[in-house]
Amino acid sequence: MDMLVSLVPLLPLLGFLIIGLGGRKLHQGVTVAVACGSILIAFIIAVVLFFNLSNLPADARSISVTLFDWISAGRFSASLGFLVDPLSSLMLLIITGVGFLIHVYSVGYMHDDEGFNRFFSYLNLFVFFMLLLVMGSNYLVMFVGWEGVGLCSYLLIGFWFKNRDYTNAANKAFIMNRIGDLGLLLGVILIFVHFGSIQYSDVMAKASTVDTGMLTLITFLLFIGAMGKSAQIPLYTWLPDAMAGPTPVSALIHAATMVTAGIYMIARNNVLYTLSPGTQHIVMIIGLATALFAATIALVQNDIKKVLAYSTVSQLGLMFLALGLGAYTSGIFHMATHAFFKALLFLGAGSVIHALQGEQDIRNMGGLRKHLPVTFITFLIAVLAISGIFPFAGFFSKDEILASAYAHDKIVWAIAFITSLMTSFYMFRLFFLTFSGQARASHDVMHHIHESPKSMTLPLIVLAILSAVGGFMGVPEALHGSHWLNSFLSPVFAPSAAVAHHAEHLSHGTEYMLMGVVTVLTLVMIGIAYALYVSKKQVPAAEGVATSAFHRLLYNKYYIDELYNAIVVKPLFWLSVQFDAIIERLGIDNVVNTFGNSVVWGSRAARRLQTGSIGFYIFVMVISIIVLLGAALIGL
């Protein structure tokens, strides 16, 4: 069993090493076999572990493996260990499962790319680090994984490194991640200072003994890390720019896995968060604000991937809202279903881009329904899922979140509700503009159009099935379900429930009402979108056409990027220019030069001693003998 657990992250690492060292000369078939094979085997092992876990009784539902003692310095000791409990086993399934599908998809998508081997080595490395992140049994291993996925996201976003804009986007992602990581690191350090250990088991056991103020600070710092990694306000601007990377990268990293690291971390620390209601409040507010904010921007975007990116930010906001409300299971549930349909959306978008030979602007799409049937069906399923239509996956998870919000505060529910309506509107806008109506692409593009190869459509089909039925793992009791996910994850969140201040329960009647209201109004939004973009055949305005000020504000993403540039980036550049001119040139250079100059000056003075006249030399010799003897005499 221990061997199996250690094998899960080891296989992608081996894949990375083999492909990485093989370099460009490795045959594409070998690369595919190694890369996809390692993830597939890891997935099979994850399934085995999952079944083992479900058979264990609720209070013993975890497997802990310690590989070796890593650091032992004074009071601080950390081991390299893995913890497989329901939460991490669920994440394992998602990471390896969705990861495997995306690997298969990339075989077709990146087929003609010259960096084929490099791409797969990076993908494997990313999976390795992500597995470390979720499987770590202490904060240090998680932090290693956290940083590692940041690195891999930089490598993969800037994959086509010859383009300056893409590398700038990669830099932006990495730097913003690092800002968040600072908060995370400070949080971990404070945890060590106050808890004396960084093992999860030790920290969770002692959680109630630390005073609330310190816990609030710690959890807030950890949340800053989550803000950076999971793209919440104010550290979210990197995610839309990260669409510069290849589409499978966006699917894997920015939909299914890396951005969910923040969610995982907060879920893992649920005890700490439940004991700090202040931070929970902040998490909820930021999650809600981000959800609304991003949804409004997505309403008017015209790049297919940017719409999906803002949608991701918005959905992550909803997940953080759930976590902030204390509904940890709902947050995880939504994360799992989101992984399915968002990955499917991205892969479908990739399929469309691939078919249209690189076109990403939805104003130049349309009429693809007949030409890309599989993509059309799967994309439709995904859009239905994200809009929360019964019985697709998104319905159950989103509904749970809305119910918890309603029980907590009506205003919160209202804003989340509006966000969901906007979500369904812009997703269907995207869908209709892309697939229906007349073809707006140029004639030879439409001439060459064809459905994507099997390697790309098969993952689409699998993900579509998951999006369709994935919701049934968490059917609430109101609909006569047993909510299997709740009982599976109960041991992870039980300590939190034990210290929770109050439990909110809604009557079944209220729940039915909420579900009804959401479904009806969502259908209304879909109807409006249909009317606008299919019946009236409205197409968004082209670049340069004058639009209302409000539209311009949304289209330019509320000018947040420009704001950050002015407030943060320019002062930093100015500061570094000052450092260079003053401290570097005048200060350090002077000091170093002075050392060199003093040597020259000293030797220039010393060489005067070498007069060449023997009489002088003898004189000096005698004087030195006198001095030495005198010193010896006096006893120096």
Binding site: G615, F619, I626, L629, G630
Partner: protein
């Protein structure tokens, strides 16, 4: 009996008195001729005075029961080394007029240096009175010295012969005048 004791004590007293007087005379001679070596204008005179210094130091050796060294000292120093000096001076034809002089400032500085040096040396030799004196030690006799020299110090003895060979070869090489077109 009484007369024998008196005779012995007289002889003992006379013996030490004679030795002391001899010591004073020899040291006075040595210092005087050393000063004259330094301060005489004519190099040939310096050589002659140095020979007198060597003789007086040899006399000190005799007082210290080092008869073998006395003989070697006279033969090597006064006999060989000073003769070499005289040869060279004669060869270079040095006399009073060709003597170079130093500036007065340097002479004053040299005097001061010398004075300091003397003070330092005498100061460092201060604690030597507590040595045990051995009367009439016989290690200076030829037979005894030879025993030590050829038993313990055999190797340095042989190597010094190599040293002398090297010096000889060096002196000849240096002294050869270079004729153009001749390959050594």
């Amino acid at each position: 009996m009484l007369s024998n004791n008196r005779k012995n004590s007289v002889i003992t007293n006379n013996y030490s008195a004679v030795t002391l007087n001899l010591f004073y005379f020899l040291s006075f001679l040595a210092v005087l001729s050393a000063l004259l070596v330094v301060f005489s204008k004519n190099p040939v005179h310096s050589v002659l005075y140095l020979i007198i210094t060597f003789f007086s130091i040899g006399g000190h050796y005799l007082l210290l029961n080092a008869e073998f060294l006395f003989v070697v000292h006279i033969i090597v120093y006064a006999g060989a080394i000073m003769v070499l000096f005289l040869y060279v001076i004669m060869l270079l034809n040095l006399n009073k007029e060709t003597e170079p002089h130093k500036s007065n400032l340097l002479k004053v500085a040299a005097t001061i240096c010398g004075g300091l040096f003397l003070i330092i040396l005498v100061g460092s030799l201060k604690g030597a009175e507590s040595m045990i004196q051995v009367q009439n030690s016989n290690i200076g006799y030829v037979k005894n010295l030879g025993m030590v020299l050829f038993n313990e110090f055999m190797l340095p003895f042989e190597i010094s012969s190599v040293l002398l060979l090297a010096a000889m070869v060096g002196a000849v090489m240096l002294g050869k005048s270079e004729k153009p077109g001749v390959n050594n």
